[in-house]
Structures are given as C-alpha cells and as structure tokens.
C-alpha cells in the first residue's frame, strides 16, 4: 500500500494542476515580457531618460534604490517582487495551505480520516503540495527570464547574473512558504476555508502595508520588523548584494512555526 501522504498529495496535485500550470504560464510570460521591455528601453536609451521623469519628492521618498530599478537588471528583476506577482504567489499558497479546512468544511475529511492514516499526514500532504506548486512557479519564472535574456537581448546588454535571478526566486519562494505556513496554521484550527484564507490574506496585506510604512516613515520602522515582508529585501539583491541568509532563515522560521503549530492543532482538534 502506498503511503497515505503520497496518495493524498497526488490527489491534491491533480486537483490544483490547472491553476498551477495556468499561473506558471502567466507569470513565466510576464518574466519573458519584462526581458523584452528591458531590451526595448536599452535600445531606445530609455534608462538614461527615466530618472529625469521621476519627480524629486518621489525619488527622495523611495531612496537610492529607485535608481537601481531603473536599470536593465532592475526591470528584468521586477517580476520577482512586483506586488501583483507577490500577491499571486501568496494567493496560491494560501489556497493550497487552507485545503485541510476545506476538507473539513466539505466533510471530505470524514472519508479520508476514516481510513487507516494519522492526522499529521494531511498536514504533510499540504506541505508537499505547497512546496511542489511553488517550485513549479519559480522554476517556470526563472526559465522564462533566462530564455528571454538568452534569445532576445543584445549581446552587450548588462544581463543580471544567474545567481541574482536565483536569489530573487529564493527570496520570493521563502516569503511565499512563510505565508503558506501561517495559512496552514489558520486552516488547521478552523472549520471553514474562507475563515482561514481570509485571516491569512488580511494578515498578509496588513503586514505588507506595515512594512511599506516602515520603509517610508521612520517612526514605523521599528514596528515594521514584525512584518515578514521586512525580511523580503529584493532591492539589495538587484544592486548586487548576496542573498541575506538571516532574512531567509527568519522567513523560513516563521513558516516553520506555522507548520509546527498546525501539526499540534490538527492532531488535537475535533473534526
């Protein structure tokens, strides 16, 4: 007999396959498009004009990092921290992570948990699906970026290094898994998917805004360290800094705490 975890994971992956493939194609297409936008701006001399188009107050508010983004590498990398891209990743992660609550709500869990399996296998299944889906998205995005750079950009274009793209993907992946873990904790405690996903989505939006506030308003800087997005620093990667292992560890640590909480809650609760 195959492990119940694998059976359930295969079942969930089959069910999420259309949306994962669809999102991978859209996000991959977006990355490819950004390489072509960067190429166009390079050929048309747009990068030298862009700083003068930005109002002074906006440049001061955003800080020197804004200039980093007005470069070939900055435009190519933008797809790894664009708010809509982040929202897409988090949306999918929350949808996958709240599957235990959905199964309790629809009573499908009554049928599966009535089989000879232990409850933590449901949580492990969800983690497997979450990691696989996120890996598919990130690999597709990286492949699209690299394809765009390899096939359709001038040879003398200042292409970002593969390590930079990889680090950006890892950063995006860790913040996604962090919220996946938190959503999983919420999903293991409630009976309705909407409650779990709503809670996770509102918390993500609130902490995203808190982090943004901390970046532009000094008094909020300290408070913003409570936001997981505080440890999501793509701008430093774009400007050539190496991946900050501490940030990755903090994000994975928060996600792991969510996972541990979900194992504990799910194994004790009434279904």
């Amino acid at each position: 007999m195959r492990s119940a975890t694998l059976v359930l994971a295969a079942h969930s992956l089959r069910r999420t396959r259309p949306i994962v493939i669809g999102m991978a194609l859209v996000l991959g297409g977006f990355q490819f498009l950004l390489t072509q936008v960067a190429t166009f701006l390079l050929r048309s001399g747009g990068f030298s004009l862009m700083p003068s188009l930005i109002p002074d107050f906006l440049r001061q508010m955003a800080g020197p990092s804004m200039l980093t983004f007005m470069s070939f590498t900055g435009v190519v990398a933008f797809g790894y921290f664009h708010p809509i891209v982040i929202a897409s990743h988090l949306g999918l992660a929350i949808a996958i992570a709240t599957e235990p609550a959905a199964e309790i709500e629809t009573r499908f869990a009554d049928l599966t948990l009535a089989r000879p399996m232990v409850r933590h296998q449901v949580i492990t299944r969800t983690i497997v699906v979450l990691v696989v889906a996120e890996a598919v998205l990130l690999l597709t995005m990286m492949t699209a970026t690299w394809t765009g750079l390899a096939c359709c950009t001038p040879a003398d274009a200042p292409r970002p290094e593969l390590a930079t793209i990889r680090s950006l993907a890892i950063m995006l992946g860790t913040v996604t898994l962090c919220w996946g873990g938190l959503a999983l904790a919420a999903a293991s405690a409630v009976r309705r998917r909407a409650t779990a996903s709503g809670t996770a989505a509102v918390a993500a939006l609130a902490t995203y805004l808190l982090d943004y506030l901390g970046r532009i308003w000094d008094p909020a800087r300290r408070l913003s360290t409570l936001s997981p997005f505080h440890y999501f620093e793509p701008s430093s990667l774009v400007s050539g800094a190496p991946l900050n292992v501490r940030d990755v560890a903090v994000l994975l640590g928060i996600g792991l705490a969510g996972v541990i909480a979900s194992y504990a809650i799910f194994s004790r609760r009434d279904m």
Binding site: M1, R2, A4, V7, L8, H11, R15, E103, T106, R107, F108, A109, D110, L111, T112, L113, A114, R115, P116, M117, V118, R268, D270, M271
Partner: protein
Amino acid sequence: MSGPAIRLEHLGKRYGRLTALKDVSLDVLEGEVFGFLGLNGAGKTTTIRILLDLVRPTSGRASIFGADCQTRGPEVRAQLGYLPGEPGFYGDMTGEATLDLLGRLAHTRVDPASRARLLDRLEFAASDLRRPMREYSTGMKRKLGIVQALQSDPPLLVLDEPTEGLDPLMQDAFYELVAASRQRGRTVFMSSHVLPEVERVCDRIGLLRGGELVLLSPVHEVRSLAGRRVRVSFAEDVTPPASWPDGCDLVQTTPRVWELRVHGALGPVVSLLATRPIADLDVQMPHLEEVLKKYYSDSERVALQTNAPAS
C-alpha cells in the same frame, strides 16, 4: 463467544456547555447487526465520530476489536468501513476516481470484482461512474457512499443513516448487502431513524436520548415489551368479564368487539374467549415503533439492558 467488536465505556462528550454524550457504555459483539437509534441531536453521530477518532471524547473510552480508538486510531480504522451521514464528495471528481482514491487509502486492497458486484447490486452503471459527482442525485451519492464503505470488505461496518435518500428498491438491496455481510461474520453498527428498517435488519438496538443510553436490548425483546394487539369480534353482544388474565390489558370494548393488548402467552386469553361466540379473531405482532416512540418521549431510564446478541 467472541469478544466485543465495539466497546464503549462511560463515554462522554461535551461541547462547551452542551453535553452531547453522557456516560454511554455498551458492547457490540462480533457478527451482530446493531442498530443505534435516537432522535436528531441524541448523540448518535457524535458516538460514531468518536469511534473513528474524528472527535475526541471528554471522558470514557471507546475501543474496536480491543484497540483504543484514540490511541491506536490507524489500527482501528484499518478494520472498518464507514459511511458518513453526509458524505463529502468532490463534485468535480468522478465516482470512479473517488472510489479509487478511497480504496488506495484503505488498509486492504480493493478487489475489483467485488467492487463490480457491489456496484451491480446497487444498479450503478459504469457510465454513471465516469460522470462528475456534481451530476449525481442524492440517492446516487448515497449508493456510492455505501460502495466505498463496503468495497474493501472490512470486519466492521459503521454506517450513519445508511438508507437516507435511497428509494425502496435500493433500500432492499442495501438490506441484502447487510445480511450478506453478516453471513460472512462481519459486524454492522448502524444509526438510523427508520424503525421498520432497524426491525428488519438489526439483532440488537441501543437507544440514545439526550446523550444518554436509555435502552439496550435485542430487537425481539423490545417488541415483546409492547405486547400483541388482539382484536376479537363476536357474533352477538357479549359482556366483558369482571377480571382479565395476567398480562392482558383492555384497550377498547364495544358489545361486539374487544381490543386487547396481551403481554406474554396467549393461552389464558384463548381460554377466556373459547366460551364466547367468536366471529373473528385478529392477532397482530407489535412493531418496534410502538415501543420506541414511548422511549423517545419518556423521561425514565429503562432497566432492560443486556449484552447478549439475538440468536
């Protein structure tokens, strides 16, 4: 005699201030068909969910084939097939995919021929199995639920309201499946509202009211509690006797018709009637319903409790 297939010992469950189950103790022996009765909210489904470890008891203990349902859950569930009261199937999955998935999660391999026979007996067409379940009627979902519970032929079947939504022909088919399971030595624990169904298929019953077990008895003994209804018509006017034999209650009399309720042997009543001009005599066996309706409403706890299965 073999040990209990199911043992509940002082089982209790509270949801905050609400007491769903209170000190429920009973044994269900291997090979018997046990009917678990009660009105809505009596605690039947809570008990079943404790057996499956979907719900944790507040007090007491539940075990199946000697293994604790909470501490040895997977071992316990490897030996049972479960039909929930409201099976939660995914509408976009086909019936076949659902059965395959649940079969793969079972402890024992599902025999395709055995599953095909079950589907055939419940008149489930192969073409229906390939349709998404959102297109299924309530009855079809119930039939698929029965198949998923029985397909691995487990030693114990736990069925929550199994015939809800089935048409009369399918109900008969289900009763035959239960009878066949019993012949193979399987134990069946089923909750039901349908008293004629319980009367037809169950050896023993347990009745819950407000979370308490108020009746536990073989079906034939419960029936005997009600007594037989005897209706006597006379050819001419007769006068009722001054005294009646023991166990005989007068329900209604007219000069030419007596209606009696007789508990125990009919002999003394027949002797009494022998000297009178009888035109017609009708003896009706009591129905379970007549007795149980009383227990649904009565507040006193019933002393009649036995663990012996009906022969």
